[in-house]
Amino acid sequence: MVVNHLRVHWEYLKVALSTAMEYKINFIIQVLAMVFNDVVWIIFWLIFFNRFQNVGGWVLGDMLMLYAIITLSYGLSSVFFGNRNRIAEIVNQGKLDFYLALPKNVLFHVLISRSSFYGLGDVVFGIILAFIVLSLASLSLFLILVLASTSILLSVAILSGSLAFFFGNAEATSRNIFMGTLSLASYPLSVYQGVTKFILLTIIPAGFISGVPVELLKSFNAQWFWLTIGFVVLIFSIATFVFYRGLKKYESGNLMYVRT
Protein backbone atom coordinates (compact mmCIF):
# COMPACT_ATOMS: atom_id res chain seq x y z
CA MET A 1 0.00 0.00 0.00
CA VAL A 2 2.67 2.47 1.06
CA VAL A 3 5.07 1.30 -1.64
CA ASN A 4 2.33 1.59 -4.22
CA HIS A 5 1.53 5.10 -3.04
CA LEU A 6 5.19 6.12 -3.21
CA ARG A 7 5.52 4.73 -6.72
CA VAL A 8 2.49 6.70 -7.88
CA HIS A 9 4.02 9.69 -6.25
CA TRP A 10 7.34 9.29 -7.97
CA GLU A 11 5.41 9.40 -11.27
CA TYR A 12 3.80 12.71 -10.32
CA LEU A 13 7.16 14.09 -9.29
CA LYS A 14 8.63 13.07 -12.65
CA VAL A 15 5.85 14.86 -14.50
CA ALA A 16 6.39 17.99 -12.42
CA LEU A 17 10.10 17.86 -13.07
CA SER A 18 9.79 17.39 -16.84
CA THR A 19 7.43 20.34 -17.05
CA ALA A 20 9.85 22.44 -15.07
CA MET A 21 12.73 21.55 -17.40
CA GLU A 22 10.82 22.99 -20.33
CA TYR A 23 11.77 26.45 -19.11
CA LYS A 24 15.30 25.78 -18.03
CA ILE A 25 16.44 29.13 -16.69
CA ASN A 26 13.16 29.71 -14.93
CA PHE A 27 13.53 26.29 -13.37
CA ILE A 28 16.93 27.06 -11.89
CA ILE A 29 15.83 30.50 -10.74
CA GLN A 30 12.64 29.14 -9.21
CA VAL A 31 14.51 26.58 -7.13
CA LEU A 32 16.90 29.29 -5.99
CA ALA A 33 13.97 31.62 -5.34
CA MET A 34 12.45 29.18 -2.86
CA VAL A 35 15.64 29.12 -0.83
CA PHE A 36 16.23 32.81 -1.36
CA ASN A 37 12.78 33.68 -0.04
CA ASP A 38 13.50 31.74 3.14
CA VAL A 39 16.93 33.35 3.45
CA VAL A 40 15.41 36.84 3.26
CA TRP A 41 13.22 36.03 6.25
CA ILE A 42 16.14 34.67 8.20
CA ILE A 43 18.09 37.87 7.48
CA PHE A 44 15.08 39.86 8.65
CA TRP A 45 15.13 38.06 11.99
CA LEU A 46 18.92 38.25 12.24
CA ILE A 47 18.65 42.02 12.00
CA PHE A 48 15.83 41.97 14.46
CA PHE A 49 17.56 39.91 17.09
CA ASN A 50 20.79 41.73 16.54
CA ARG A 51 18.98 44.80 17.79
CA PHE A 52 16.79 43.30 20.54
CA GLN A 53 18.20 39.89 21.59
CA ASN A 54 14.79 39.00 22.95
CA VAL A 55 11.33 39.40 21.45
CA GLY A 56 8.55 38.49 23.84
CA GLY A 57 10.80 35.94 25.53
CA TRP A 58 12.03 34.43 22.26
CA VAL A 59 15.65 34.44 21.16
CA LEU A 60 17.12 33.96 17.68
CA GLY A 61 17.42 30.20 18.16
CA ASP A 62 13.69 29.92 18.84
CA MET A 63 12.92 31.88 15.71
CA LEU A 64 15.14 29.60 13.63
CA MET A 65 13.36 26.63 15.16
CA LEU A 66 10.05 28.16 14.14
CA TYR A 67 11.31 28.48 10.56
CA ALA A 68 12.61 24.93 10.57
CA ILE A 69 9.13 23.69 11.50
CA ILE A 70 7.27 25.96 9.09
CA THR A 71 9.48 25.34 6.05
CA LEU A 72 9.48 21.59 6.67
CA SER A 73 5.73 21.29 7.09
CA TYR A 74 5.09 23.63 4.17
CA GLY A 75 7.62 21.81 1.99
CA LEU A 76 6.50 18.30 2.92
CA SER A 77 2.87 19.12 2.31
CA SER A 78 3.60 20.60 -1.11
CA VAL A 79 5.74 17.66 -2.22
CA PHE A 80 3.35 14.94 -1.02
CA PHE A 81 0.02 16.74 -1.26
CA GLY A 82 0.70 19.04 -4.18
CA ASN A 83 -2.97 19.82 -4.77
CA ARG A 84 -3.25 21.22 -1.26
CA ASN A 85 -3.94 24.75 -2.42
CA ARG A 86 -5.88 23.82 -5.54
CA ILE A 87 -8.96 22.26 -3.97
CA ALA A 88 -11.08 25.35 -4.59
CA GLU A 89 -9.96 25.46 -8.21
CA ILE A 90 -10.64 21.76 -8.74
CA VAL A 91 -14.13 22.03 -7.25
CA ASN A 92 -14.93 25.26 -9.00
CA GLN A 93 -13.88 24.16 -12.45
CA GLY A 94 -15.74 20.88 -12.22
CA LYS A 95 -12.54 18.82 -12.30
CA LEU A 96 -13.72 16.88 -9.26
CA ASP A 97 -15.76 14.58 -11.50
CA PHE A 98 -12.54 12.93 -12.56
CA TYR A 99 -11.71 11.95 -8.98
CA LEU A 100 -15.26 10.90 -8.22
CA ALA A 101 -14.99 8.30 -10.96
CA LEU A 102 -12.00 6.68 -9.28
CA PRO A 103 -12.56 3.84 -6.83
CA LYS A 104 -10.46 5.54 -4.17
CA ASN A 105 -10.72 7.88 -1.24
CA VAL A 106 -11.69 11.13 -3.00
CA LEU A 107 -10.06 13.65 -0.68
CA PHE A 108 -6.83 11.69 -0.40
CA HIS A 109 -6.56 11.21 -4.12
CA VAL A 110 -7.28 14.86 -4.87
CA LEU A 111 -4.50 15.86 -2.52
CA ILE A 112 -1.79 13.51 -3.75
CA SER A 113 -2.39 13.66 -7.48
CA ARG A 114 0.09 16.43 -8.00
CA SER A 115 3.53 17.12 -6.72
CA SER A 116 5.14 20.50 -6.37
CA PHE A 117 8.78 19.89 -7.06
CA TYR A 118 9.79 23.28 -5.71
CA GLY A 119 8.67 22.26 -2.23
CA LEU A 120 11.86 20.19 -2.06
CA GLY A 121 13.80 23.45 -1.69
CA ASP A 122 11.82 24.21 1.47
CA VAL A 123 12.35 20.71 2.80
CA VAL A 124 16.12 20.93 2.32
CA PHE A 125 16.18 24.37 3.88
CA GLY A 126 14.16 23.18 6.88
CA ILE A 127 16.48 20.20 7.41
CA ILE A 128 19.54 22.47 7.36
CA LEU A 129 17.94 24.83 9.87
CA ALA A 130 16.98 21.91 12.10
CA PHE A 131 20.58 20.66 12.03
CA ILE A 132 21.77 24.04 13.26
CA VAL A 133 19.36 24.54 16.14
CA LEU A 134 18.11 21.12 17.14
CA SER A 135 19.68 18.94 19.82
CA LEU A 136 19.72 15.22 19.15
CA ALA A 137 17.71 14.51 22.29
CA SER A 138 14.66 16.38 21.03
CA LEU A 139 14.76 14.87 17.52
CA SER A 140 11.83 12.52 18.01
CA LEU A 141 9.68 15.24 19.57
CA PHE A 142 10.65 17.53 16.69
CA LEU A 143 9.56 14.98 14.10
CA ILE A 144 6.22 14.40 15.83
CA LEU A 145 5.61 18.14 15.98
CA VAL A 146 6.52 18.60 12.30
CA LEU A 147 3.98 15.92 11.41
CA ALA A 148 1.40 17.62 13.62
CA SER A 149 2.04 20.96 12.03
CA THR A 150 1.92 19.45 8.51
CA SER A 151 -1.48 17.97 9.37
CA ILE A 152 -2.79 21.31 10.62
CA LEU A 153 -1.57 23.07 7.47
CA LEU A 154 -3.30 20.43 5.37
CA SER A 155 -6.50 20.80 7.40
CA VAL A 156 -6.47 24.57 6.90
CA ALA A 157 -6.00 24.02 3.18
CA ILE A 158 -8.87 21.51 3.05
CA LEU A 159 -11.15 23.78 5.06
CA SER A 160 -10.43 26.89 3.01
CA GLY A 161 -10.59 24.94 -0.24
CA SER A 162 -13.96 23.47 0.72
CA LEU A 163 -15.38 26.98 0.69
CA ALA A 164 -15.72 26.45 -3.04
CA PHE A 165 -18.47 23.86 -2.42
CA PHE A 166 -20.56 26.48 -0.70
CA PHE A 167 -19.64 29.76 -2.38
CA GLY A 168 -18.56 28.81 -5.89
CA ASN A 169 -15.72 31.05 -6.89
CA ALA A 170 -13.51 30.89 -3.80
CA GLU A 171 -10.08 30.39 -5.34
CA ALA A 172 -8.55 33.71 -4.26
CA THR A 173 -10.23 33.70 -0.87
CA SER A 174 -9.14 30.16 -0.13
CA ARG A 175 -5.56 30.87 -1.05
CA ASN A 176 -5.52 34.01 1.04
CA ILE A 177 -6.90 32.26 4.11
CA PHE A 178 -4.13 29.70 3.79
CA MET A 179 -1.36 32.23 3.25
CA GLY A 180 -2.79 34.50 5.96
CA THR A 181 -2.73 31.67 8.49
CA LEU A 182 0.82 30.85 7.46
CA SER A 183 1.93 34.45 7.85
CA LEU A 184 0.33 34.69 11.31
CA ALA A 185 2.29 31.56 12.18
CA SER A 186 5.56 33.15 11.08
CA TYR A 187 5.91 35.38 14.14
CA PRO A 188 6.69 34.51 17.77
CA LEU A 189 3.52 33.32 19.44
CA SER A 190 4.49 35.15 22.60
CA VAL A 191 3.95 38.61 21.07
CA TYR A 192 0.24 38.01 20.72
CA GLN A 193 -1.85 38.75 23.78
CA GLY A 194 -5.31 38.23 25.19
CA VAL A 195 -8.11 37.68 22.75
CA THR A 196 -5.81 37.59 19.74
CA LYS A 197 -3.78 34.81 21.30
CA PHE A 198 -6.95 32.89 22.09
CA ILE A 199 -8.14 33.26 18.50
CA LEU A 200 -4.79 32.05 17.18
CA LEU A 201 -5.15 28.88 19.22
CA THR A 202 -8.74 28.22 18.17
CA ILE A 203 -10.47 29.71 15.15
CA ILE A 204 -7.28 30.54 13.27
CA PRO A 205 -4.99 27.65 14.22
CA ALA A 206 -1.75 29.53 13.50
CA GLY A 207 -0.48 29.11 17.07
CA PHE A 208 -0.46 25.32 16.86
CA ILE A 209 1.39 25.30 13.55
CA SER A 210 4.56 26.87 14.87
CA GLY A 211 4.30 28.75 18.17
CA VAL A 212 3.22 25.91 20.45
CA PRO A 213 5.71 23.41 18.93
CA VAL A 214 8.58 25.86 19.55
CA GLU A 215 7.47 26.41 23.13
CA LEU A 216 7.30 22.63 23.60
CA LEU A 217 10.80 22.18 22.23
CA LYS A 218 12.05 24.92 24.55
CA SER A 219 10.54 23.27 27.61
CA PHE A 220 8.39 20.20 27.33
CA ASN A 221 4.94 20.37 28.89
CA ALA A 222 2.86 17.22 28.72
CA GLN A 223 -0.41 19.08 28.98
CA TRP A 224 0.33 21.29 25.96
CA PHE A 225 1.73 18.35 24.04
CA TRP A 226 -1.48 16.36 24.37
CA LEU A 227 -3.48 19.49 23.69
CA THR A 228 -1.61 19.85 20.40
CA ILE A 229 -2.21 16.23 19.43
CA GLY A 230 -5.85 16.58 20.41
CA PHE A 231 -6.11 19.73 18.33
CA VAL A 232 -4.63 17.98 15.30
CA VAL A 233 -7.20 15.21 15.57
CA LEU A 234 -10.00 17.71 16.05
CA ILE A 235 -9.19 20.05 13.18
CA PHE A 236 -8.43 17.20 10.80
CA SER A 237 -11.78 15.58 11.61
CA ILE A 238 -13.58 18.88 11.11
CA ALA A 239 -11.78 19.45 7.79
CA THR A 240 -12.65 15.98 6.51
CA PHE A 241 -16.22 16.36 7.68
CA VAL A 242 -16.65 19.72 5.95
CA PHE A 243 -15.08 18.41 2.75
CA TYR A 244 -17.42 15.43 2.55
CA ARG A 245 -20.38 17.58 3.48
CA GLY A 246 -19.50 19.80 0.55
CA LEU A 247 -18.95 16.80 -1.67
CA LYS A 248 -22.46 15.60 -0.93
CA LYS A 249 -23.75 18.94 -2.08
CA TYR A 250 -21.56 18.73 -5.18
CA GLU A 251 -22.78 15.25 -6.06
CA SER A 252 -26.42 16.11 -5.61
CA GLY A 253 -25.86 18.82 -8.18
CA ASN A 254 -26.95 21.67 -5.98
CA LEU A 255 -24.02 23.76 -7.02
CA MET A 256 -25.32 27.01 -8.38
CA TYR A 257 -22.18 27.60 -10.35
CA VAL A 258 -22.61 26.99 -14.06
CA ARG A 259 -19.66 26.56 -16.33
CA THR A 260 -19.86 27.54 -19.95
Binding site: L32, A33, I43, G180
Partner: protein, 264 residues
Protein backbone atom coordinates in the same frame (compact mmCIF):
# COMPACT_ATOMS: atom_id res chain seq x y z
CA UNK B 1 -4.96 61.91 -25.20
CA UNK B 2 -7.88 59.73 -26.37
CA UNK B 3 -5.61 56.76 -26.97
CA UNK B 4 -4.49 56.72 -23.39
CA UNK B 5 -7.84 57.26 -21.71
CA UNK B 6 -9.25 54.39 -23.78
CA UNK B 7 -6.56 51.98 -22.63
CA UNK B 8 -6.69 53.04 -19.00
CA UNK B 9 -10.47 52.56 -19.07
CA UNK B 10 -9.83 48.92 -20.07
CA UNK B 11 -7.52 48.47 -17.06
CA UNK B 12 -10.17 50.02 -14.82
CA UNK B 13 -12.96 47.84 -16.16
CA UNK B 14 -10.94 44.63 -16.05
CA UNK B 15 -10.18 45.49 -12.45
CA UNK B 16 -13.91 45.68 -11.73
CA UNK B 17 -14.40 42.19 -13.15
CA UNK B 18 -11.82 40.89 -10.71
CA UNK B 19 -13.12 42.87 -7.77
CA UNK B 20 -13.08 39.79 -5.52
CA UNK B 21 -9.36 40.42 -5.40
CA UNK B 22 -10.03 43.73 -3.67
CA UNK B 23 -12.26 42.26 -1.02
CA UNK B 24 -9.53 39.84 -0.13
CA UNK B 25 -7.26 42.75 0.68
CA UNK B 26 -9.94 44.01 3.07
CA UNK B 27 -9.03 40.99 5.22
CA UNK B 28 -5.35 40.89 4.43
CA UNK B 29 -4.48 44.45 5.37
CA UNK B 30 -6.06 44.51 8.87
CA UNK B 31 -4.56 41.08 9.55
CA UNK B 32 -1.05 42.22 8.65
CA UNK B 33 -1.50 45.34 10.77
CA UNK B 34 -2.58 43.24 13.76
CA UNK B 35 0.57 41.12 13.44
CA UNK B 36 2.86 44.13 13.32
CA UNK B 37 0.96 45.87 16.09
CA UNK B 38 1.54 43.01 18.52
CA UNK B 39 5.09 42.41 17.39
CA UNK B 40 6.14 45.99 18.00
CA UNK B 41 4.14 46.43 21.16
CA UNK B 42 5.89 43.48 22.63
CA UNK B 43 9.28 44.81 21.52
CA UNK B 44 8.68 48.29 22.92
CA UNK B 45 7.47 46.81 26.20
CA UNK B 46 10.40 44.42 26.60
CA UNK B 47 13.11 46.88 25.65
CA UNK B 48 11.65 49.73 27.70
CA UNK B 49 12.96 52.19 25.08
CA UNK B 50 10.83 55.16 24.01
CA UNK B 51 12.32 55.50 20.56
CA UNK B 52 13.67 52.59 18.54
CA UNK B 53 15.78 53.34 15.46
CA UNK B 54 14.12 56.75 15.20
CA UNK B 55 10.49 55.69 15.69
CA UNK B 56 8.13 55.88 18.67
CA UNK B 57 5.65 53.02 19.02
CA UNK B 58 2.89 55.19 17.59
CA UNK B 59 5.06 56.18 14.63
CA UNK B 60 6.12 52.59 14.08
CA UNK B 61 2.51 51.50 13.81
CA UNK B 62 1.70 54.40 11.48
CA UNK B 63 4.72 53.36 9.45
CA UNK B 64 3.03 50.03 8.72
CA UNK B 65 -0.37 51.64 8.06
CA UNK B 66 1.29 53.93 5.51
CA UNK B 67 3.27 51.01 4.16
CA UNK B 68 -0.02 49.22 3.40
CA UNK B 69 -1.43 52.37 1.81
CA UNK B 70 1.56 53.12 -0.39
CA UNK B 71 2.10 49.45 -1.20
CA UNK B 72 -1.48 49.11 -2.40
CA UNK B 73 -1.25 52.25 -4.50
CA UNK B 74 1.95 51.32 -6.31
CA UNK B 75 1.19 47.61 -6.70
CA UNK B 76 2.24 46.51 -10.15
CA UNK B 77 2.08 43.07 -11.72
CA UNK B 78 2.61 44.15 -15.29
CA UNK B 79 5.44 41.59 -15.46
CA UNK B 80 2.89 38.82 -14.86
CA UNK B 81 0.66 40.22 -17.64
CA UNK B 82 3.63 40.27 -19.98
CA UNK B 83 4.58 36.72 -19.05
CA UNK B 84 1.05 35.49 -19.79
CA UNK B 85 0.80 37.35 -23.09
CA UNK B 86 4.14 36.10 -24.30
CA UNK B 87 3.54 32.51 -23.23
CA UNK B 88 0.17 32.15 -24.99
CA UNK B 89 1.08 34.47 -27.86
CA UNK B 90 -1.74 36.93 -27.24
CA UNK B 91 0.85 39.68 -27.00
CA UNK B 92 0.52 40.04 -30.79
CA UNK B 93 -2.87 41.63 -30.15
CA UNK B 94 -1.01 44.43 -28.38
CA UNK B 95 1.49 44.70 -31.21
CA UNK B 96 -1.36 45.34 -33.65
CA UNK B 97 -2.43 48.56 -31.92
CA UNK B 98 -0.86 51.80 -33.06
CA UNK B 99 0.52 52.58 -29.61
CA UNK B 100 3.85 51.40 -28.24
CA UNK B 101 3.69 48.34 -26.02
CA UNK B 102 5.14 50.22 -23.07
CA UNK B 103 2.50 52.95 -23.31
CA UNK B 104 -0.33 50.44 -23.68
CA UNK B 105 0.59 48.55 -20.54
CA UNK B 106 1.22 51.77 -18.68
CA UNK B 107 -2.26 53.06 -19.46
CA UNK B 108 -3.87 49.82 -18.30
CA UNK B 109 -1.76 49.84 -15.14
CA UNK B 110 -2.71 53.44 -14.51
CA UNK B 111 -6.40 52.75 -15.02
CA UNK B 112 -6.15 49.96 -12.49
CA UNK B 113 -4.43 52.37 -10.06
CA UNK B 114 -7.41 54.69 -10.37
CA UNK B 115 -9.75 51.86 -9.44
CA UNK B 116 -7.50 50.79 -6.58
CA UNK B 117 -7.53 54.34 -5.31
CA UNK B 118 -11.30 54.44 -5.29
CA UNK B 119 -12.17 51.11 -3.77
CA UNK B 120 -9.11 50.19 -1.74
CA UNK B 121 -7.09 53.24 -0.80
CA UNK B 122 -9.96 55.53 0.16
CA UNK B 123 -11.31 53.02 2.72
CA UNK B 124 -7.81 52.59 4.18
CA UNK B 125 -7.46 56.38 4.41
CA UNK B 126 -10.83 56.83 6.07
CA UNK B 127 -10.18 54.12 8.64
CA UNK B 128 -6.68 55.45 9.33
CA UNK B 129 -7.89 59.00 9.84
CA UNK B 130 -10.90 58.33 12.00
CA UNK B 131 -10.04 55.17 13.90
CA UNK B 132 -6.27 54.92 14.04
CA UNK B 133 -5.61 58.60 14.80
CA UNK B 134 -2.96 58.93 12.14
CA UNK B 135 -1.66 62.51 12.50
CA UNK B 136 -1.43 64.50 9.28
CA UNK B 137 1.78 66.15 8.10
CA UNK B 138 2.04 69.84 7.28
CA UNK B 139 0.54 70.93 3.98
CA UNK B 140 3.98 71.16 2.35
CA UNK B 141 5.04 67.67 3.41
CA UNK B 142 1.61 66.38 2.54
CA UNK B 143 2.07 67.64 -1.02
CA UNK B 144 5.59 66.25 -1.16
CA UNK B 145 4.23 62.89 -0.01
CA UNK B 146 1.67 62.86 -2.80
CA UNK B 147 4.39 63.77 -5.28
CA UNK B 148 6.68 61.04 -3.95
CA UNK B 149 3.91 58.42 -4.20
CA UNK B 150 3.10 59.52 -7.73
CA UNK B 151 6.75 59.17 -8.70
CA UNK B 152 6.82 55.80 -6.96
CA UNK B 153 3.93 54.65 -9.17
CA UNK B 154 5.98 55.58 -12.23
CA UNK B 155 9.18 54.07 -10.86
CA UNK B 156 7.51 50.79 -10.01
CA UNK B 157 5.97 50.60 -13.47
CA UNK B 158 9.19 51.07 -15.40
CA UNK B 159 11.08 48.76 -13.08
CA UNK B 160 8.43 46.04 -13.34
CA UNK B 161 8.25 46.48 -17.12
CA UNK B 162 12.00 45.84 -17.28
CA UNK B 163 11.56 42.66 -15.22
CA UNK B 164 8.70 41.60 -17.51
CA UNK B 165 10.85 42.06 -20.61
CA UNK B 166 12.96 39.09 -19.54
CA UNK B 167 9.95 36.93 -20.41
CA UNK B 168 10.71 37.54 -24.10
CA UNK B 169 13.83 35.41 -23.64
CA UNK B 170 12.89 33.07 -20.81
CA UNK B 171 9.18 32.50 -21.61
CA UNK B 172 8.44 31.67 -17.97
CA UNK B 173 9.55 34.16 -15.29
CA UNK B 174 7.70 33.02 -12.17
CA UNK B 175 11.03 32.33 -10.51
CA UNK B 176 12.41 35.78 -11.27
CA UNK B 177 9.20 37.34 -10.00
CA UNK B 178 9.45 35.44 -6.74
CA UNK B 179 13.01 36.61 -6.18
CA UNK B 180 11.93 40.13 -7.07
CA UNK B 181 9.06 40.06 -4.55
CA UNK B 182 11.30 38.77 -1.77
CA UNK B 183 14.08 41.28 -2.41
CA UNK B 184 11.70 44.17 -2.82
CA UNK B 185 9.76 43.45 0.39
CA UNK B 186 13.06 43.84 2.15
CA UNK B 187 14.72 46.72 0.32
CA UNK B 188 11.57 48.83 -0.05
CA UNK B 189 11.20 48.83 3.71
CA UNK B 190 7.95 46.88 3.73
CA UNK B 191 9.10 44.34 6.33
CA UNK B 192 11.07 46.63 8.59
CA UNK B 193 12.07 50.31 8.45
CA UNK B 194 15.41 50.61 6.70
CA UNK B 195 16.91 52.43 9.71
CA UNK B 196 17.39 48.97 11.23
CA UNK B 197 20.15 48.21 8.75
CA UNK B 198 23.78 49.17 9.49
CA UNK B 199 24.63 52.70 8.37
CA UNK B 200 26.80 51.54 5.49
CA UNK B 201 23.84 49.61 4.08
CA UNK B 202 21.60 52.61 4.47
CA UNK B 203 23.94 54.83 2.51
CA UNK B 204 24.01 52.21 -0.25
CA UNK B 205 20.21 52.00 -0.23
CA UNK B 206 20.06 55.71 -0.85
CA UNK B 207 21.46 55.14 -4.32
CA UNK B 208 19.38 52.04 -5.09
CA UNK B 209 15.88 52.47 -6.53
CA UNK B 210 13.99 50.38 -3.99
CA UNK B 211 13.65 52.61 -0.93
CA UNK B 212 11.97 55.22 -3.15
CA UNK B 213 8.99 52.93 -3.59
CA UNK B 214 7.89 52.80 0.04
CA UNK B 215 10.37 53.88 2.70
CA UNK B 216 11.00 57.40 1.39
CA UNK B 217 7.35 58.37 0.73
CA UNK B 218 6.37 57.06 4.20
CA UNK B 219 9.08 59.04 5.93
CA UNK B 220 8.19 62.19 4.02
CA UNK B 221 4.70 61.77 5.44
CA UNK B 222 6.16 61.28 8.92
CA UNK B 223 8.35 64.38 8.33
CA UNK B 224 11.53 62.45 9.14
CA UNK B 225 13.53 64.47 6.63
CA UNK B 226 14.52 68.12 6.37
CA UNK B 227 13.17 69.88 3.31
CA UNK B 228 16.59 69.97 1.65
CA UNK B 229 16.93 66.20 2.10
CA UNK B 230 13.53 65.64 0.51
CA UNK B 231 14.63 67.61 -2.54
CA UNK B 232 17.72 65.41 -2.92
CA UNK B 233 15.70 62.22 -2.44
CA UNK B 234 13.03 63.17 -4.94
CA UNK B 235 15.76 64.03 -7.44
CA UNK B 236 17.38 60.62 -7.02
CA UNK B 237 13.92 59.05 -7.40
CA UNK B 238 13.39 60.96 -10.64
CA UNK B 239 16.79 59.90 -11.95
CA UNK B 240 15.88 56.25 -11.34
CA UNK B 241 12.61 56.68 -13.21
CA UNK B 242 14.55 58.03 -16.17
CA UNK B 243 17.11 55.24 -15.96
CA UNK B 244 14.48 52.51 -15.97
CA UNK B 245 12.54 54.31 -18.67
CA UNK B 246 15.57 54.25 -20.97
CA UNK B 247 16.47 50.68 -20.08
CA UNK B 248 12.86 49.67 -20.79
CA UNK B 249 12.87 51.47 -24.12
CA UNK B 250 16.18 50.07 -25.30
CA UNK B 251 15.65 46.53 -24.09
CA UNK B 252 12.13 46.45 -25.54
CA UNK B 253 13.62 47.04 -28.99
CA UNK B 254 15.84 44.00 -28.50
CA UNK B 255 12.96 42.02 -27.01
CA UNK B 256 10.74 42.82 -29.97
CA UNK B 257 13.47 41.78 -32.40
CA UNK B 258 13.84 38.55 -30.46
CA UNK B 259 10.06 37.98 -30.49
CA UNK B 260 9.86 38.71 -34.21
CA UNK B 261 12.73 36.34 -34.89
CA UNK B 262 15.25 38.87 -36.11
CA UNK B 263 18.79 37.84 -36.92
CA UNK B 264 18.06 34.30 -37.95
Amino acid sequence: MGKFSGLSRMGFKTGIVYRAHFFVSLIKIPLTLVVFFYLWRSIFMFSGEEIIQGYTFAEMFIYYVLSMLVGTLIYCDVDAWMNEGIKDGDVVGDFLRPVTYMKQLFCQYFGLRELTFLIEVIPIMVVSLFFLNVPLPSLLFGMLFILAVFLAILLNYFFTFCVGLTAFWLKEIQGIRRVKTAVMAFLEGALIPLTFFPLIFQSVFKYLPFQYLRFVPINIFLEKYALSEVVVLLSIQTVWILIFFFIAKTVFKLAFRKFAGAGI
